[in-house]
Amino acid sequence: MAAADSPSAALRRRDLCSRGIRLAGKMRSDVVDLLDTYVERQGLDASASVAAVEGVPAAAVERWDEQTGTQRLLENLAAYRAFRVLLSQMLEEHREQLGEADAALGRALASVLLQVSAFAYHLEELLRLESRGPPSEEGAPPPPAPHLGLFERKLRGLGVLRELAQWAVRSARDLRQLTKPSPGSGSAPSWAESP
């Protein structure tokens, strides 16, 4: 809390939140573009229904406004860490499947992967400012890569990107919520109450 109380920490947090919001916005924009490209290149139907991706927390959550800041950050971090693993798997699969034949899609995937990593870094930094520190990644091991067929992998990739797009929206809202001064608690929100 001491770090959070210092003016520099407050500025740092505000800066992290602000840039995180914009990063989330850009990430959503890029993911939406990537979705179109992915559907087209993978020969999928944009309206295809995809089951929830295993290992990724659902973006939609009940009683969202009742969540504490830390809770939001932790959920976000968990989600993006999962996305980072999934996107890395997708990128690897893409390279194995197409090599350098579809470099644009590969570059787009890599770009999104970088943004996911960057956003995860933002979340970790915010959590550090909260004096909690981010949970170690060992605590949340990545889901093992299931042995799926090619089409299933494509569908799973489509599901990952769709979920990422939703999370980008939610993350922006979460960070925006964090920047709002909580009533009666000054600049520091009652993140300590978070589990």
Partner: protein, 919 residues
């Protein structure tokens, strides 16, 4: 400089060379080596090398370390830098590596004198890399989602070594592969960067002597973006004629970057841009309405953008897009002026109204027509006349008077404010003064002094003065508060312009004040052609024509006349430019002069062609002054001579004209026609025994004393005729006749005893004495001439014919010595008179014959008739005469009959049948 590969190659070469020596010398291995092997040294540092001899060589060749010689290339290193460490090791030390060169060799003096190379090394000298400085990065947006970042830095000094640079960057939690520059050492481009995460960037430089890193640069790449400019611009005119709406598309997502903009615009043809106030476009948008534009004007727009907070870089300007504002009604009335021609009719003016088309920013659209209203101020009752025209001039014929002209321009939107021109009957108001011009900055400035009263505006007229074209008037308006302006037109240099300034008042107009001006002067294009108008003995009047305006190229300030003789110095005379004539004086007479003439403007002069003339030898009146006195003197001498001759005429006569012997005292007086035998040459000699006449002597006896004729007097004639008829053969010896030798001429009046000599007839054939001398019976005397010249009988005949009607004149012609009358006829040749002959009847001939005898018609008429009867006995003779005289006189004259052919008649006169021959 230093090249590592070269050093290495050179070292290998030495090594091989050394080994070969060993082989040739029987050695199988090196006798020593140098430590360190091929070092890379920092420039300016100290360096120590050791040469270590092998033990085997010590035993074999008694070689020890104290015999070692160090060399740099072929230069021996001073022994002071050597140090013998032990008997097999020698060291050399260099305090500054800059004195080093490759190779550094270890040599030994074998057997005291033979220097042999033991080993050599290549030394590389350089510098460690400097810390790269001034690292900066920029993210160029090249596509919508592609943001490469280019970083540049200052690599520092040259190291003389192979130095590698790497651009390193990383996130706090993630490293990225280094960016390695290609072909350069001061920049590198990272293909894609992610925004909103701080990126740490630095440069690492490394070579054999070390490694250096720049200060790290921590930044969010979003802060150094140079975005792509907006595109797909469109410009739309709005409802207002002064507004255009510009729209565009941004090529960077709003989620990535919020943008602000700069909008610039200009009119077509203008190069200067105007800019929309930046604060008006400091927020994200995709359109903007530009206001305050001019109606019906085409504008060019361009736009750029950057991050809204101003962190980063402006994009390039977008492509340009044009748009036109809508029309508005004209903002002002056209400037109007007039030209009045009053020369055709004194009572009417031909007024040419002319106005200038409005400038586009004044017209605010397309002018469809002009409405001209002319109102006579003098007669307020008459309604104004309106004219709608599409051109910019209108010619009206108006009675003299004061008029107010109103001009309105119309476009599609509306009408302009009216322009009013007052045309007064007379320009009675105060004019401007002191109109002057000044070329300035390639334009012609006109200035004037304003009159004292308030001037509404000024009108400046000008036109190009030329011989080849009319003066086409151009004009411009100037407000009343100025006293000078530049002419707004294509003013050409070297051309003469006539500039007139008018002052216009609310109630009148001042008369125009004119001045001529040149924008730029030059020398005349040709010089005047001079020629002489009059040349005298010591002066010459030169004349020339003025140069035409087109030839002048400027104001003619003066003429200079140059004249010289062939071998003399040239003399120059300056003449006022208004003159066209000049008199050169003090010239040398009868001398060839060459004259030429130069015309000068402010920029110089040009000479005309040479003209030569020669002065006269004599001055005016000199010849007269010589000739007149000479003539007068001559006349005086002649007069004196005449007077002298007159006074001395007796003496002269005595010497020149000897006294003619008195015929009365001549022997011929006793000559008788009945004695023809005596009429021969011998008798002649007897008659003039004294020889007074050398060749011919003439004695004419005047037979004019008509009154003295009587029947008695005529008797001898009859006798003569008879004698003649009978003695035809005697008289045939007389050859022909002449004018002066006719019988009538020979007749002389001997009453007074005067003799007259005919000087004009120097050849005398005979002398006939008709009258008796001093009351003696006249005898017919024939004096035979020795001359063989034919007689001109036809002349005689013509004289007879012409004198038929007037005996007096007839006599005067032939008896010219009688009383001195009619001397003018004495020289007339006979043939001239012959030509006057006209055919006459016999009556005339009768009369003629009578005249020949007496010359007194009244008396001779009867006598003639009587003679006709008497002469009837002479038909043969007469017939012969008639035949001979009917020949045309000319023919007779041209071919006078010879003495043999001639009739044996004394006077072969023309006598028709029935006529009379006196002898």
């Amino acid at each position: 400089m230093f090249s590592g590969w070269n050093w290495v190659a050179y070292g290998l070469y030495l090594l091989l060379n050394f080994c070969s020596l060993e082989v040739s010398g029987g050695l199988v291995q090196s006798c020593g080596h140098i430590i360190p092997e091929s070092p890379v040294l920092a420039l300016g540092s100290n360096f120590t090398a050791l040469c270590i001899l092998n033990e085997s060589c010590l035993d074999f060749g008694n070689i020890y370390a104290n015999q070692i010689i160090w060399k740099i290339k072929n230069r021996v290193v001073p022994k002071e830098q050597y140090r013998e460490i032990n008997r097999t090791v020698s060291s050399v030390t260099f305090n500054d590596t800059s004195s080093l060169a490759t190779p550094l060799t270890c040599n030994i003096l074998a057997d005291g004198q033979i220097e042999q190379n033991i080993y050599g090394i290549a030394v590389t000298v350089g510098l460690p890399p400097e810390k790269p400085k001034n690292l900066s990065c920029i993210v160029h947006q090249v596509l919508k989602l592609t943001y490469p970042m280019t970083c540049t830095w200052n690599p520092g000094r040259h190291t003389f070594l192979d130095t590698h640079f790497r651009l390193k960057y990383r996130w706090p939690q993630e490293n990225f592969p280094d960016c390695i520059p290609k072909d350069v050492n001061n920049s590198c481009t990272i293909p894609d960067v992610q925004f909103f995460v701080n990126l740490e960037v630095w440069v690492e430089a490394a070579n054999a002597l070390g490694k250096a890193e720049s200060d790290p640069l921590v930044l969010d790449p979003i802060e150094i973006v140079k975005p792509l400019p907006p595109h797909n611009l469109s410009v739309n005119s709005g409802i207002l004629p002064t507004v255009l709406k510009i729209s565009w598309e941004n090529r960077i997502s709003g989620s990535v970057m919020k943008l602000k903009f700069n909008i610039r615009y200009r009119t077509i043809g203008d190069t200067n841009w105007m800019q929309v106030p930046p604060e008006d476009t400091a927020s994200p948008r995709t359109s903007f309405s530009v206001q305050g534009l001019r109606p019906y004007t085409e504008y060019v727009f361009s736009i750029r953008c950057m991050k809204e907070d101003g962190v980063g870089y402006w994009s390039d300007w977008s492509e340009e897009k044009t748009g036109i504002t809508t029309e508005d009604k004209p903002s002002k009335g056209p400037p109007i002026w007039r030209i009045i021609d009053a020369s055709r009719s004194p009572a009417f003016w031909t007024v040419r109204l002319m106005w200038k088309a409005l400038e586009p920013f004044e017209a605010n659209g397309i002018i469809l027509q002009y409405e001209v209203t002319v109102r006579a101020k003098s007669s307020l009752s008459s309604p104004p006349e309106k004219y709608n025209v599409n051109t910019t001039n209108l010619i009206l014929k108006l009675p003299n008077g004061t008029y107010e002209v109103t001009l309105i321009a119309h476009n599609r939107v509306g009408a302009s404010p009216p322009s009013v021109l007052l045309i007064p009957a007379t320009n009675s108001k105060a004019p401007v003064k002191n109109v002057r011009t000044l070329p300035k900055d390639g334009k012609l400035w006109v200035g004037w002094t304003a009159p004292n009263s308030y001037v509404l505006k000024y009108v400046i007229e000008w036109c190009l003065v030329s011989n080849s074209s009319d003066c086409v008037i151009e004009w411009q308006n100037e407000p009343g508060n100025v006293q000078g302006t530049y002419l707004k037109g294509d003013i050409k240099p070297f051309k003469c312009y006539l500039i007139t300034v008018y002052s216009l008042y609310a109630d009148g107009q001042g008369s125009g004040q004119s001045v001529k001006a040149y924008l730029q002067q030059d020398r005349p294009s040709k010089g005047p052609t001079v020629q002489t108008k009059k040349v005298g003995k010591a002066e010459a009047v030169l004349t020339w024509n003025h140069l035409t305006v087109d030839e002048q190229n400027g104001f003619i300030r003066s003429y200079t006349i140059f004249y010289k003789t062939v071998d003399g110095n040239e003399t120059a005379v300056t003449v006022d430019p208004s003159e066209t004539e000049y008199t050169l004086s003090s010239l040398t007479s009868d001398t060839l002069y060459t004259v030429r003439m130069m015309a000068y403007t402010d920029e110089g002069g040009r000479s005309g062609p040479d003209f030569t003339f020669t002065t006269q030898k004599f001055g005016k009146g000199e010849i007269e002054a010589i000739v007149v006195p000479v003539c007068l003197a001559f006349l005086l001498i002649v007069l004196l001579g005449v007077l002298f001759c007159f006074n001395k005429r007796d003496l002269i006569k005595k010497h020149i004209w000897p006294i003619v012997p008195d015929p009365s005292k001549s022997n011929i007086a006793q000559w008788s026609p009945q004695v023809p035998a005596k009429h021969n040459f011998s008798s002649k000699d007897q008659m003039y025994p004294e020889g007074s006449f050398t060749d011919v002597s003439v004695v004419e006896i005047e037979a004019d004393d008509k009154k003295s004729f009587s029947e008695q007097d005529l008797k001898p004639f009859d006798l003569l005729k008879k004698e003649k008829s009978t003695s035809e053969g005697h008289s045939s010896g007389i050859g022909g006749s002449s004018c002066m030798s006719s019988p009538r001429q020979s007749v002389s009046d001997s009453d007074e005893g005067e003799t007259t000599q005919n000087t004009s007839s120097t050849v005398q054939y005979s002398t006939v004495v008709l009258n008796g001398y001093r009351d003696q019976t006249p005898v017919q005397v024939f004096s035979r001439s020795e001359s063989t010249q034919p007689l001109l009988d036809s002349e005689e005949r013509s004289e007879d014919h012409s004198g038929g009607g007037d005996g007096t004149s007839q006599r005067q012609q032939y008896f010219k010595q009688n009383g001195g009358q009619d001397e003018t006829n004495t020289d007339r040749p006979c043939f001239e008179r012959t030509k006057q002959i006209t055919p006459t009847n016999e009556g005339d001939l009768v009369g003629f014959a009578q005249l020949q005898i007496s010359g007194e018609s009244s008396q001779l008429l009867g006598l003639g008739l009587e003679k006709n009867t008497q002469e009837a006995a002479l038909p043969d003779v007469l017939q012969a005469s008639i035949e001979g005289q009917t020949v045309r006189p000319g023919t007779v004259e041209g071919n006078p009959p010879s003495a043999d052919e001639m009739p044996k008649s004394y006077l072969p006169q023309t006598v028709r049948q029935g006529g009379y021959m006196p002898q």
